[in-house]
């Protein structure tokens, strides 16, 4: 009996020492995973995931606090990419998240704008230019379509415009496969 105890505790002490050493030797600083997740997120900074931006959401995913299906602008493809990166199953959008919408940009009706700067403060990527009591306008190329500027506008002069298909952004369609229905 005593020998059994001795043997087992001997093994335990030895292994404990090895592991303790390894814990010091292989200590990991920070979490490089956050950047990888952040790179997949669409950077609209819209907060639809209920986190104040893409990076905080990425941090939450990496910490295991958030689900991967909370980013409507990333679409199902974004979920798929996150699932692949993290080695988890694909998860469709939940009922509490918005459905993905076609990519849009904000447009300020310049006749109505009173120059209150509220939208400028709301814009997460500084894509609105203007000054107090001056008409504001949106830099379309920088707009992420997050809609955060729509609600603060006191005169409802901001609308979201779906980006139209033009010859410059046109894409080839998935070929029609005559025998089997397209996936």
């Amino acid at each position: 009996m005593l020998s059994a105890l001795l043997v087992m505790s001997g093994i335990a002490i030895l292994l404990g020492a090895v592991l303790g050493f390894a814990a010091i030797k292989f200590r990991v600083e920070g979490n490089p995973l956050v950047d990888k997740i952040d790179a997949i997120l669409p950077q609209t900074q819209c907060g639809q995931c209920s986190y104040p931006g893409c990076k905080p959401y990425a941090t939450a995913i990496a910490a295991g606090e958030a689900d991967i299906n909370r980013c409507p602008p990333g679409g199902e493809e974004g979920i798929q990419k996150l699932a692949d990166l993290l080695g988890v199953e694909f998860k469709p959008f939940g009922a509490d998240t918005n459905a993905p919408k076609p990519k849009s940009v904000a447009l300020i009706d310049e006749n109505t704008c009173i120059g209150c700067t509220l939208c400028i403060q709301a814009c997460p990527v500084d894509a609105i230019v203007g000054a107090a009591k001056q008409m504001h306008t949106i830099i379309t190329a920088e707009c992420t379509g997050c809609e955060l500027c729509v609600a603060p506008c006191p005169v409802d002069c901001i609308s979201m415009v779906v980006i139209e298909e033009k010859i410059t952004n046109w894409k080839w369609k998935y070929p029609i496969y005559a025998l089997t229905p397209a996936q």
Binding site: C54, D156, I167
Partner: protein, 558 residues
């Protein structure tokens, strides 16, 4: 004699070239209307210089090249610009693009032109002339020629003229070489001079003996080191990369400039245009177009840029069962969205198509991995794998398997026993990958801007806090001083200006409210419950974000 090399694969589709080489090149009569797109070249769209109502002369610059890769656009004849607007153009999307509509006055009156002697000029001047003359590659790639003639880091030993014309049906280069060989050779001399190349090789497929003979005759008159080489007839031997390989043995990989390997390749028609532009100051306002297929008089026509395709095929006697038109050849050509689109600089051939001429392919069966496609692929790819990945939307894998080395020659689809539209899958995958890259760049830019903003807000907050601290300190000192004097009405003057500003803000908001009420925004009333829910949702989200942001912002202070 030059030793010839081989490229991997290739196919022998029926050539159908005899039909359109029976008669010499004819000049197309003046159409009633020309539609000239401003984007006929690789790169940036040209900036319109004219307005509706302007009268222009033939060869007058109407579109100015914009930044970097771009080229000029000219009026193809004299007449009146009636409209600058969006019109359907020869593009796979069938979407409209910016065009100028020109109604000819029938006089076909040239602007004043002046040629130059290139040997007396500077390289940069010649290139500027070409840029403003709108000279682009006429083989179909429409890359601005002036950029290809810019001296690079590497010495260019060999200038290659591409007269292979491997696509079935197309004969415009063949006829041009037969009839205007001397102009091509003179153009080649200019290019050789600009590139400071040692030799000129002209590659012509051996199914064009008349063209080879004409070019050999013309080359004898030149003092340059020119050899006319007959290359085996094998599609896609006329692809620039394939022709370079056949003539020199050099393989130019995708994404590599051929000049880095010491060769530069031009189409023969481009050479002729360069000669006309430099020697006579004639901008590119017309080109030779093969009109063939389901027409009674298949032939080559010299057509003004902007001529509607319907006019061109009508002139060649289009047959009644024609149901669509193809720009280019049957292997790589583009189905035209409408017969109203106009001839552009890239239009080397118009094929009138009928169900009898090009019967629709049988339904696609699954891929059985027979690798016939791999056997014929000139880029030495594994098309069956690329298809497998593109079909499953595994774009990363497709890229790993060198999707972007695919030149879309169509040889794989041509031999596929399952009749899978392979090239369509590759086009789809490529454009998806491009779109993703664009999105990625946009996302990266947004991230940078977001992070910058966060930093700025943090900094401003800090500055404000410092200022506040300083002010409080000052106030405290003042108070201390005031306490010493011990007088009571110190508070009122401080609050007065605050009230004043407060009132002003109130007034502004009131004003805005009135304004808003006056215009009656449409999107606040008659909202569907769903929209209302969405708005409420956004509001809730914002509130939460503000809360989160404020807690986060406060936490570091503590």
């Amino acid at each position: 004699m030059t030793t010839l090399f081989k490229f991997h694969g290739g196919v022998h589709p029926p050539t159908h070239k005899a039909e359109s080489t029976r008669t010499p090149i004819a000049r197309m009569p003046m159409p009633a209307k020309l539609v000239i797109p401003f984007h006929q070249h690789v790169g940036n769209i040209a900036k319109p210089l004219v307005q509706a109502g302007d009268h222009v002369l033939k060869g007058q610059l109407i579109g100015l090249p914009e930044d970097g890769i771009s080229s000029a656009i000219h009026a193809s004849t004299s007449g009146t610009i009636t409209e600058i607007g969006m019109q359907v153009v020869a593009h796979a999307s069938g979407l409209p693009d910016l065009c100028a509509t020109l109604v000819p006055d029938g006089k076909d009156e040239w602007i004043t032109r002046s040629g130059m002697d290139f040997r007396e000029s500077k390289n940069a001047d010649v290139r500027q002339v070409l840029r403003l003359a709108g000279v682009v590659g006429l083989g179909g790639a429409v890359f601005p020629s002036d950029l290809k003639l810019r001296p690079g880091k590497h010495k260019v030993n060999t200038l290659i003229l591409n007269g292979a014309e491997c696509e079935p049906y197309i004969t415009c280069d063949d006829m041009l070489m037969r009839e205007r060989a001397d102009e091509i050779i003179k153009g080649a001399e200019i290019m050789r001079w600009a590139l400071e190349a040692d030799e000129i090789l002209v590659g012509i497929e051996d199914n064009k003996p008349e063209a080879i003979a004409a070019m050999r005759l013309a080359a004898q008159a030149s003092s340059d080191n020119i050899s006319i080489v007959a290359v085996p007839t094998l599609y896609p031997g006329g692809g620039a990369k394939q022709l370079i390989r056949v003539l020199t043995g050099i393989e130019v990989a995708a994404g590599v400039r051929s000049t880095d390997k010491g060769v530069q390749c031009f189409n023969v028609a481009t050479a002729q245009t360069i000669y006309r532009a430099v020697r006579f100051g004639e901008p590119l306002v017309s080109r030779i177009v093969t009109v063939t297929g389901n027409v009674s008089n298949a032939q080559n026509l010299e057509v003004l840029i902007g001529t509607p395709v319907s006019d061109v095929v009508a002139y060649a006697g289009v047959l009644p069962d024609t149901d669509s038109y193809i720009m280019g050849g049957p292997m790589m050509g583009l189905p035209l969205p409408a017969a109203s689109v106009s001839i552009v600089k890239a239009a080397n051939c118009i094929i009138a198509s009928s169900p009898k001429l090009f019967p629709p392919a049988p339904p696609a069966m699954p891929c059985i991995r027979c690798t016939r496609c791999a056997e014929v692929c000139p880029a030495e790819l594994q098309p069956q794998d690329l298809y497998w990945f593109a079909k499953a939307r595994e774009f990363g894998k497709a890229q790993e398997f060198s999707l972007f080395d695919c030149i879309e020659c169509g040889a794989c689809s041509y031999v596929c026993p399952s009749h899978i539209p392979l090239v369509q899958y590759y086009r789809f995958a490529k454009s998806e990958i491009w779109a993703r890259e664009t999105e990625k760049t946009a996302a990266d830019a947004a991230r940078v801007r977001f992070e910058f903003r966060e930093q700025r807000i943090e900094r401003e907050k800090q500055e404000k806090a410092e200022k506040l601290a300083a002010r409080e300190k000052a106030a405290a000192e003042a108070k201390l001083a005031a306490a010493k004097i011990a007088s009571a009405p110190a508070a009122t003057p401080v609050s007065a200006p605050v009230d004043e500003t407060q009132a002003k803000i109130q007034a502004a908001i009131e004003h805005a409210r009135q304004q808003a009420a006056a215009i009656k925004p449409k999107n606040t009333e008659q909202l569907t419950p769903q929209q209302q829910a969405e708005i409420a949702d956004i509001e809730a989200r914002r509130a939460r974000i503000h809360e989160l942001a404020s807690t986060e912002a406060e936490s570091p202070k503590e």
